[in-house]
């Protein structure tokens, strides 16, 4: 039982960052219909940015987080403007090939710049964990969970309470009508991709210090994000949030009770099972953003 509680707590902490990854991808996938293979690379980019600011430059760790999110948004906007904007109207497979190309370029640039050796990010949090009854959590993980929750709530507010969010939802429902009503579709696409990329970079910046930072960390992140999006339904932020926690829980339980080697297989099994039996996702009433 104690062990189960510990797994549960680990899953909640991991789930928060998974949710961030999923929300970012579900917006991009839902609104732009782009199978974004660079999502995981933005996750890795966020982690490396924190490493660069905090470890290489020796500046403040929290400043590093902020820089990672902003740099992630800028890089996302750059990818959208240079690669996706000229491809608008092309079929989904063609765009996918471009994104695979971009993914290879980004990952190997990381490898070239930082080398293949895993990097550890030192944080200002105390080494002794927070102990509540049978469960112990490191302060870093508590911080990660809190920030992830704040970012999830922030995303909700942006989608539901701002003009940009309204434009994104309108574009998702009907691009042509939204354009006729004066929504700047190009701007919405760039903003969506930048926003999703910033969330991916934030997830990487938060998980980077928990685990290690490697050039290939983005591969699994991309595929896990797809699993979360499929679980939650396309464009469904609530679904992506819940999906993130479900994936984390399944991984923790799978790793704890079945075999740790199959931890990463859980996401793929979820993808296969959900797509074969309920392709619209677990929580979909109909396709919508929000």
């Amino acid at each position: 039982m104690d062990q189960f509680l510990q797994h549960l707590v680990n899953a909640v902490i991991l789930g928060g960052t998974y949710a961030l990854l999923g929300i970012g991808l579900t917006l991009i996938f839902g609104i732009m219909r782009v199978v974004n293979f660079t999502h995981g690379e933005l996750y890795a980019f966020g982690a490396y940015t924190v490493y660069f600011v905090a470890a290489a430059l020796g500046l403040d760790f929290f400043l590093g987080l902020l820089v990672a999110v902003v740099a992630g948004a800028l890089l996302g906007a750059l990818i959208e403007i240079t690669l996706l904007r000229p491809m608008r109207g092309a079929d989904i497979d063609t765009v996918m090939l471009v994104m695979i190309g971009a993914w290879i370029v980004m990952q190997n640039t990381e490898l070239l710049v930082w080398g293949g050796v895993a990097k550890a990010i030192v944080t200002p949090f105390p080494d002794s964990p927070l102990v509540i009854g049978p469960v112990s959590i490191s302060w870093l993980r508590v911080f990660v969970l809190v920030v992830a929750f704040l970012l999830i709530i922030g995303s909700y507010l942006i989608i539901h309470r701002t003009k940009l969010g309204k434009a994104m939802r309108a574009t998702f429902q009907d691009t042509d009508t939204a354009a006729l009503m004066g929504v700047n579709i190009r701007g919405v696409y760039t903003a969506t991709f930048a926003f999703g990329s910033a969330l991916a970079a934030a997830a990487g910046a938060l998980l980077g210090p928990v685990f290690l930072v490697t050039p290939t960390m983005g591969d699994l992140a991309s595929l896990k994000a797809f699993a979360i999006v499929i679980l939650g339904g396309l464009g469904n932020i609530t679904g992506a949030t819940i999906g993130g926690f479900i994936l984390a829980l399944v991984e923790e339980i799978g790793a704890g009770y079945i075999s740790s080697g199959y931890r990463d297989a859980m996401g793929f099994l979820i993808i296969i099972v959900v797509l074969l039996f309920k392709p619209t996702g677990l929580f979909a009433r109909a396709e919508r953003v929000g």
Partner: protein, 349 residues
């Protein structure tokens, strides 16, 4: 002239080991040939049925593992107490077992994956490949996990009346790859040129219309997946017995990407496309390796992929074929060009 050119290439291909002294180049030719076979099989799905399978390396790897395990033998305990023991068999049987097992997994994965289309199909196929990789990595009792299956023996071919011949050297493997490659080419071109192939192209162009005229969409897609997977499995077997080692890295996504780049660059939906693309991307590393680090090579590949999708979305072969046709405005196009144009995916853009 039209017949002279293929004959010339055939002579060049057949005589290469006679005048080529460099064993390294021969090695590159063999591995390139194996990847061309895999790329040809991917082209059947990607180019002719229009389904972007990004899990193709699973079939290649399954073929390699099945072939290696048939040859090496294994002893595994399933569930509890139920042991499966297999004594080593000759390597040639391994080739056929590898092909068959890959074809069967193509059937199973095809049956399941073709329930979804587009982006979802792509993601399901990637997931299948990753699951097979994790099984290969973790089922240590069967696959040795990260320690890899080693000492895979080379093929021994028996010729009636001439005795047996074991393929120890590179020259022999080169000819074997050429034979299997030609065989795969013939199978795929016959399939594509037949009624079945026309049905496949029809459902790529317009699935709703194709099914409305009575084409059983799933049946043809699964058939394409089985043939494609079997050919990829055969290529995997060649790879395993040539390198004498298989490890779970054979399932890495990057190998699928390599095959996809070959098909896209050469021209998807053309028979010559994967060969042209395969030769380019097989030899590009040889040219680039002395001047650039591996990471730089991959950056170059990724960049090249983007550039090709932007400027030559149909690939090299259709572009080259169309070039003289545009200049002379010839009324009758060769069959290959007509086929390439029919299956032109960018018409939808």
């Amino acid at each position: 002239m039209k017949r002279a050119l293929p004959a010339f290439w055939l002579i060049v291909i057949l005589t290469i080991p006679l005048w080529l002294q460099d064993q390294y180049i021969l090695h590159i030719l063999i591995t390139t040939g194996i990847f061309i076979i895999a790329a040809m099989s991917l082209n059947l799905l990607l180019g002719y049925t229009g389904q972007l399978s990004l899990g193709h390396v699973a079939f290649f790897g399954i073929g390699a593992y099945a072939s290696a395990l048939t040859t090496l033998g294994f002893d595994v305990e399933l569930f509890s107490g139920f042991r499966v023991v297999h004594e080593p068999w000759p390597a040639v049987i391994g080739f056929f077992v590898g092909t068959a097992v890959a074809g069967m997994s193509g059937f199973v994965i095809g049956r399941l994956s073709f329930k979804v289309r587009g982006a979802y199909f792509v993601i399901v196929t990637i997931s299948f490949a990753e699951v097979t990789r994790l099984v290969a990595l973790n089922w240590v009792e069967l696959t040795q996990g990260p320690l890899a299956l080693t000492n895979i023996p080379p093929y021994t071919l028996g010729f009636p009346g001439l005795g047996e011949y074991t393929l120890w050297n590179k020259t022999a493997y080169y000819y074997l790859v050429v034979v299997v490659g030609v065989l795969a080419y013939v199978i795929i071109s016959r399939l594509v040129g037949s009624r079945i192939g026309r049905a496949m192209i029809a459902l790529k162009e317009n699935e709703t219309l194709a099914s409305s005229v009575g084409i059983d969409v799933t049946r043809y897609l699964v058939l394409a997946a089985v043939v494609s997977a079997a050919v990829a499995g055969g290529a995997g077997s060649l790879y395993a017995h040539y390198l004498k080692i298989v490890d779970p890295d054979i399932f890495l996504f990057i190998y699928t990407v390599t095959m996809v780049i070959m098909v896209i660059t050469g021209g998807k939906g053309t028979l010559a496309g994967p060969i042209v693309g395969g030769i380019i991307f097989g030899f590009l590393p040889v040219i680039v390796r002395p001047i650039a680090a591996p990471a730089v090579q991959w950056i170059l590949y990724g960049g090249l992929m983007i550039v090709i999708v932007f400027i030559l979305p149909q690939g090299i072969v259709p572009a080259v074929q169309r070039w003289p046709a545009n200049r002379t405005l010839s009324r009758r196009k060769p069959a290959g060009v007509a086929l390439a144009n029919n299956s032109n995916p960018s018409d939808r853009q």
